[in-house]
Amino acid sequence: MRTLRHAAAIAWKDLRSELRTKESLNSSLSFSIVVLLLLAMAFDTGSEIVTDYGGGILWLAFAFSSTLIVNRSFAREMPNDCIDVLVASPASGASLFLGKAVAAFALQSGIQLICLPIFGVFYNVTWWRNPWQLFGVLLLGGWAMACIGTVFSALTVNLRLRELMLPMLMYPMLVPALLASMTLTNYLLMPGAMPPDFAQWLRLLIGFDIIFTTLALALVETILVR
């Protein structure tokens, strides 16, 4: 309970400093348009590529924006040594991690929700075929990115661990989750019944989320206290 309350306080603070004004919404809106535009440039769309690989394009955009958001998660605590105050406070490492991950997740989800209809218009995709399942996949995949990304960001605090080449491994670690999300999204964008391996990919994604959240919660205390 206390952990959750502290986590909420930290998430709220993070969101507050990001969302000072409603302009943040506008800028994430145009940011996502820009990324989709970039992807459209790379692949001459209009051809059948989108219908087959829509999920790939969408998640690439998500991965990119998420990297940017999550990179700042702990970096925000560095000026003025705010991290010291947090570590010295009774908040546990787990609550710190949870708070930061939730804040990143919320920002990220905001961008995803904006992206989706824009994606629909610009790529002529009917994305609302299976809306609830799609949101489910967005949540699961989004959490995977927020979780791994936050751990990665925490490494910026700890010099010793940061130099262990861990950062190099961090992003590639995400690949299974992203791959699962892409495939699932592709399936959900297609008309017709789900292919048989839908459930299998879903299980992979859920398993990934569970494993990494557990690992992160267990390890974050070591990362933060020198």
């Binding site: 306080a9 603070k13 570590v87 009774p90």
Partner: protein, 233 residues
């Protein structure tokens, strides 16, 4: 009330090969105010960070109110003020105090009181980015006092405060000390510290060169301690 508020036994701290603290042992009773003195690079900050649980000792033992340093209950009793102010530039003073207060269950009213007390109520809603250096330091002081800690660990708290703010901080510190709060502060503004301190410690290149009560000689003459207990270097 018998056990000491802070007790260290044979604390060493290595940075690489360099021993920043060498065998530091002392015990400080409750309600005392310790002035931690020492030249630049002596190890004051290192010691305070170990006491606050922000870094681990390489060797030795630290007890705070008979608890281990990193225990959550212990942490809740500590008020920390480091070299940097530990505030978010883009949040306002009030939002900053709210953010940290939430970690200690501090009420809104208390936050308002502290903003009054450090004379920042009139700018409480502008972002800290716009504060002058002394205003930031005052807010940091308020942040450290906010949750009514039992042990204050202050690293050079007088930095960039003007005469009035120093007087204010001194009165705040004597005020809480009267209520039994233990205080450890490091500083180079010896005059101001001596008015408060009941004990004085001198760290000399990582070693605890002196630990004892504040005497009358120290009050008038800021150079006295270095001359008497320090090494020549």
């Amino acid at each position: 009330m018998s056990e000491p508020a802070v007790a260290t036994a044979g604390v060493w701290k290595y940075f690489g090969d360099y021993p920043a603290l060498r065998d530091v042992s002392f015990a400080l009773d409750r309600g005392e105010c310790l002035a931690l003195l020492g030249r630049n690079g002596a190890g004051k900050t290192t010691l305070l960070r170990i006491l606050a649980g922000l870094s681990g000792a390489s060797k030795g033992d630290v007890k705070i109110y008979d608890g281990v340093v990193r225990a959550s209950a212990t942490r809740a009793r500590i008020g920390w003020l480091g070299h940097a102010i530990g505030l978010y530039d883009e949040l306002s003073a009030r939002e900053n105090l709210q953010a940290f207060g939430a970690l200690y269950d501090v009420s809104k009213a208390t936050i308002g009181e502290w903003l009054e007390r450090v004379n920042l109520a009139h700018v409480a809603d502008s972002p800290v980015r716009e504060y002058s250096r002394g205003m930031r330091q005052r807010l940091a002081v308020a942040r450290a006092f906010l949750h009514g800690p039992d042990l204050l660990l202050f690293d050079e708290p007088f930095t960039s405060l003007d005469d009035k703010a120093i007087a204010l901080l001194q009165s705040l510190l004597t005020g809480v000390r009267a209520k039994g709060v233990t205080i450890i502060l490091s500083t180079h503004q010896i005059r101001e510290a001596m008015e408060l301190a009941s004990r004085v410690a001198l760290i000399d290149r990582g070693k605890l060169a002196h630990f004892g009560p504040r005497t009358e000689e120290m009050l008038g003459d800021p150079g006295y301690i270095y001359r008497t207990f320090g090494t020549a270097a």
